[in-house]
């Protein structure tokens, strides 16, 4: 059965704050933290152009692509889960969140395999400035995906318990914004670490 529905879709009011103010304080703290790490990465690149020329070629681009697909898909599923709750379809919300959780867990599995493969190649966080900054960024992001996945479990439990309705789903919306932020961070990490050589 298609998850699409013919019920009217209530458009969010213009000028509103998605989720709540608290989550945006957290989101901007997270983005500041990532921005500092990106600046360190850029400055390290300016100081060591050769290391950053050779480094990306030693990373597993296919793993980076798969993880980007997983992150984007999880974000899409979370966005669809919001649409479902606004149409008063909590069961569909659970399906979409389940898809997002599968993607989050898939990301963690792919990343674990990828790091293990680097280990077999003799690559670790001490293998030069490129890998030091790469591991710092990637591992930090991995931790965010880990606890973000726990967050998906939490909003799934709340949905299952009937805590969200078309009129009140602030918690789900706040979590969605946070999860999209984790996605956004990876959308910068992937191109600068895997593609930009």
């Amino acid at each position: 059965m298609s998850l699409a529905t013919t019920l009217p879709f209530p458009e969010p009011a213009a000028g509103r704050i998605p989720g709540n103010k608290g989550i945006w304080v957290g989101i901007f703290c997270e983005l500041t933290e990532f921005a500092l790490m990106f600046i360190v990465f850029f400055l390290a690149r300016a100081h060591n152009p050769e290391a950053f020329h050779d480094g990306p070629a030693r990373l597993a681009t296919s793993a980076g692509v798969i993880n980007t697909v997983l992150m984007l898909s999880s974000s899409y599923f979370v966005a669809r889960s919001l649409g479902a709750i606004r149409r008063n379809r909590p069961r569909h919300t659970l399906y979409w969140l389940g898809g997002a959780l599968a993607c989050g867990v898939g990301y963690l599995i792919v990343k674990t395999i990828e790091f293990a493969w680097y280990g077999e190649q003799g690559i670790n966080g001490s293998s030069g400035v490129f890998f030091t900054t790469y591991y710092y960024l990637a591992f930090n992001h991995l931790v965010h995906v880990g606890w973000g996945s726990l967050g998906i479990l939490w909003v799934m439990a709340r949905t299952w318990a009937g805590a969200y309705s078309p009129e009140d789903h602030e918690g789900l919306e706040a979590f969605a914004c946070y999860w999209h932020t984790i996605d956004l961070a990876w959308l910068i990490i992937f191109p600068i670490a895997y593609v930009w050589h």
Partner: protein, 94 residues
């Protein structure tokens, strides 16, 4: 166009950009060209997620501007590192 359809189109476009980026990472020669593509792709992907997935398109102006600015400034830094790398290195040498 329905909200769901817009989301799906944004998702498919993001996936296409990702596959293109992966291909580029494997085949492209280093240089300013790839730097510009990386910067533009970061900006486009960021804007798509911010506008459609985060639903900030018509939301609180301050939040939207700050989020959009993030995805103007970071790509600009990518280009700046490529164009002015030696100068940046000199200015930040300890």
């Amino acid at each position: 166009m329905s909200h769901e359809r817009k989301l799906t189109l944004a998702w498919l476009f993001l996936l296409a950009l990702t596959l293109g980026g992966g291909y580029l990472g494997e085949t492209a020669e280093p240089g300013l060209g790839i730097t510009l593509i990386v910067a533009v792709v970061i900006a486009i992907k960021g804007r798509l997620v911010i506008d459609h997935f985060m639903e900030l398109g018509g939301a609180n102006r301050r939040i939207r501007r700050l989020m959009n600015a993030y995805f103007y400034v970071l790509p600009a830094m990518v280009v700046a590192v490529d164009l002015f790398g030696p100068l940046l290195a000199r200015l930040t040498a300890i």
